[in-house]
């Protein structure tokens, strides 16, 4: 984080609020995006991700707060004046224009010379492997190809900022992974500051230099993906990031001692008195005959690379899911299992504020 501070912030979102009529959607968000950074905004449906992105694009007015792009306040600017390019979820290609014209349209409006337009479009087409499709209309393209054209339309403009609103959500799972890698590689080579919205946490984890986890119009946590994964700042982040979700147990903290489950006692570095939530990721539970946590098994889901085991905690009946590596043969007669965990993999949240305490 320190190393970044001497670089210029490319986008600065400062205390931004948004309401539609009386309904408040964004409740004060501040994010600084560094030059060349790939920032991903992730959050559940309806949390206001698109709204935030559209405010940066200039497609939505800002109710309060300020947005800066390259140090210039752009609240009142038209999208074009902000020099941003946007890739939409449904691609939004002009249906009556062929691929070439789709990509060239913005440049034509900007008054770029014919020769320059051709050079830039051809260049983008070769990067995105669209050379043979330039004469086609969007309806004659596959989903992945349309997606590429939408990307091409963004890159020919050489904008200061790329904005992506769930650009991959209309593709099938395999293509999504492929395009994800392509987007990442493209952004790496162009070094254009990017703001990417998704509700898919895998996309967020893999693409992001830093990610913002949003919930209900607030930024719950901003950080590099692994930091967010390892040290979720709130209960919401803990449960939203990671699949399957983190196991959460009710517990009590007394000074440095935390108890949960069937009177399991662990020590915490942070002193705290009161009710807490104790979280453990499914992959951090280990089968161990001497383990402290006893789980009554319900069902297993073999996924090939790992196996998900569902059950309830003995004593409290809280739901628990365990992710075990490889294929695990569970003895169906033995319907109890003992598990252990390492203290460093325990997350503790204040039950009143849902904030992380250790």
């Amino acid at each position: 984080m320190k190393a970044r501070n001497n670089r210029m912030a490319s986008i600065r979102i400062k205390e931004v609020f948004k309401s539609f009529y009386k309904t408040k959607i964004i409740h004060g968000i501040s994010i600084d995006i560094q030059e060349g950074e790939f920032l991903v905004i992730v959050g559940p449906s309806g949390c206001g991700k698109s709204t935030l992105l559209r405010m940066v694009a200039g497609l939505e007015t800002v109710s309060a707060g300020e947005i800066f792009i390259n140090g210039r306040m752009v609240n009142e600017d038209e999208p074009m004046e902000r020099n941003v390019a946007m890739v939409f979820q449904n691609y939004a290609l002009y249906p009556h224009m062929n691929v070439f014209n789709n990509m060239a349209y913005g440049l034509k409006i900007a008054g770029t010379s014919k020769k320059e337009i051709k050079t830039r479009v051809d260049n983008a087409a070769s990067i995105l492997q669209l050379e043979d499709l330039l004469e086609r209309k969007p309806r004659d393209l596959s989903g992945g190809q349309r997606q590429r054209v939408a990307m091409g339309r963004a890159i020919v403009r050489k904008p200061d900022v790329f904005l992506f609103d769930e650009p991959l959500s209309n593709l099938d799972a395999k293509l999504r992974v492929k395009m994800r890698l392509e987007i990442k590689a493209l952004q790496r080579s162009l070094k254009t500051t990017s703001l990417y919205v998704t509700h898919d946490q895998v996309e967020a984890m893999t693409l992001a230099d830093r990610m913002v986890v949003m919930n209900n119009g607030k930024a719950e946590q901003i950080g590099v993906p692994l930091e967010v994964y390892d040290y979720p700042a709130t209960l919401f982040v803990a449960q939203f990031i990671g699949s399957p979700s983190m196991n959460i147990f009710k517990g009590n903290s007394n000074n440095n001692a935390v108890t949960f489950g069937d009177s399991i006692e662990i020590s915490s570095k942070t002193r705290f008195d009161g009710e807490v939530f104790v979280g453990i990721r499914p992959e951090h539970l280990i089968v161990d005959p001497d383990g402290l946590l006893t789980v009554r098994l319900k069902i297993t889901e073999p996924l090939g690379a790992n196996t998900l085991v569902y059950g309830t905690v003995k004593g409290t009946n809280e739901e628990v899911v365990i992710s075990l590596p490889g294929t695990v043969e569970i003895d169906s007669l033995k319907n109890e299992m003992r598990l252990s965990f390492q203290n460093k993999n325990i997350h503790i949240f204040d039950r009143k504020t849902n904030k992380r305490i250790g």
Partner: protein, 278 residues
């Protein structure tokens, strides 16, 4: 294609052929009447096969006519119908664009006002319209024929519905690309509305072509007559003999342009419908 030649096959074909005959026979009679001499028509029985006067009758109709040459009336009708069709499309495209894409005070009110004019066809407002046109000195002129008929709530409504189906993202993509409202209209909206425009053009052209009451009222000069009213004017008043062969030739000539428009434009809008630009 299921090849099934049962009773129903023959019955349905017989029904269709009968229908064609019922509709086609009067037209055939009109055609026959336009190719014979006046005396052949008035002496019964009426001929059922074409005679030898085709060229003479059509020449007379086209170039001298009864009150005015039919060629001139055809031209007048074409100008009026084109003016009405294009004018209606132009105005309703613009008003639908305004109503859908701009937020201005009274937007809904204006929309409903336009919509209400659907209930005011020319026949209802013919007296005040005549007054206005007369005051502007537009009697016996193309503008007088065209302008009072040019507003179209139907077309505005159709374009509005179509614009509402254009995805919002497309509008936003154009904004991000830097297209202002005018560019957006000409570069995106207009080409996307091609099919609708073609379909409306056919309907509105025929609507304009078939105007009868309004041209009858405001054109007193035979050289401004339109063909549809012109046919009516050809019937003699009093004891004169009607020149049936020429009248029939005129009737058939009056059908040609609308038929051509339908045949020609059909290609456009059928292709447009198949291509489906969305």
């Amino acid at each position: 294609m299921v090849e099934k030649k049962g009773l129903s096959y023959w019955l349905s074909h017989a029904g269709l052929i009968l229908g064609v005959i019922v509709i086609g026979f009067p037209i055939w009679l009109a055609f026959v009447a336009s190719t014979v001499t006046q005396s052949e028509i008035v002496s019964p029985p009426m001929p059922l096969l074409p005679g030898g006067e085709f060229i003479t009758n059509y020449k007379e109709a086209l170039f001298s006519g009864i009150n005015a040459p039919v060629a001139l009336m055809l031209l007048n009708s074409t100008i009026m119908a084109l003016g009405i069709a294009l004018g209606k499309i132009f105005i309703s495209l613009l008003s639908a664009f305004a109503i859908v894409y701009f937020r201005f005070p009274g937007r809904q009110l204006f929309f409903w006002m336009i919509f209400l004019t659907l209930m005011l066809p020319i026949e209802v407002r013919i007296v005040p319209s005549y007054g206005v046109v007369a005051q502007f000195g537009m009697l016996n002129s193309y503008s007088g024929l065209i302008f009072p008929l040019i507003a179209s709530a139907t077309a505005t409504f159709l374009f509005r519905q179509f614009f509402l189906t254009i995805p919002n993202e497309l509008t936003e993509a154009a904004r991000v690309d830097g297209a202002g409202p005018v560019r957006f209209f000409f570069d995106i909206i207009l080409p996307m509305s091609k099919t609708n425009i073609a379909a409306l053009f056919v309907i509105l052209f025929i609507y304009g072509w078939n105007q009868f009451l309004w041209p009858l009222l405001i054109t007193t000069d035979p050289s401004m007559n339109t063909i549809v009213m012109g046919i009516k004017q050809m019937f003699p008043s009093g004891d004169d003999n009607a020149n049936w062969p020429v009248i029939m030739a005129t009737s058939l000539l009056a059908m040609v342009p609308p038929v051509l428009i339908v045949i020609f434009m059909q290609k456009f809008f059928v292709r447009g419908l198949i291509e489906s630009e969305k």
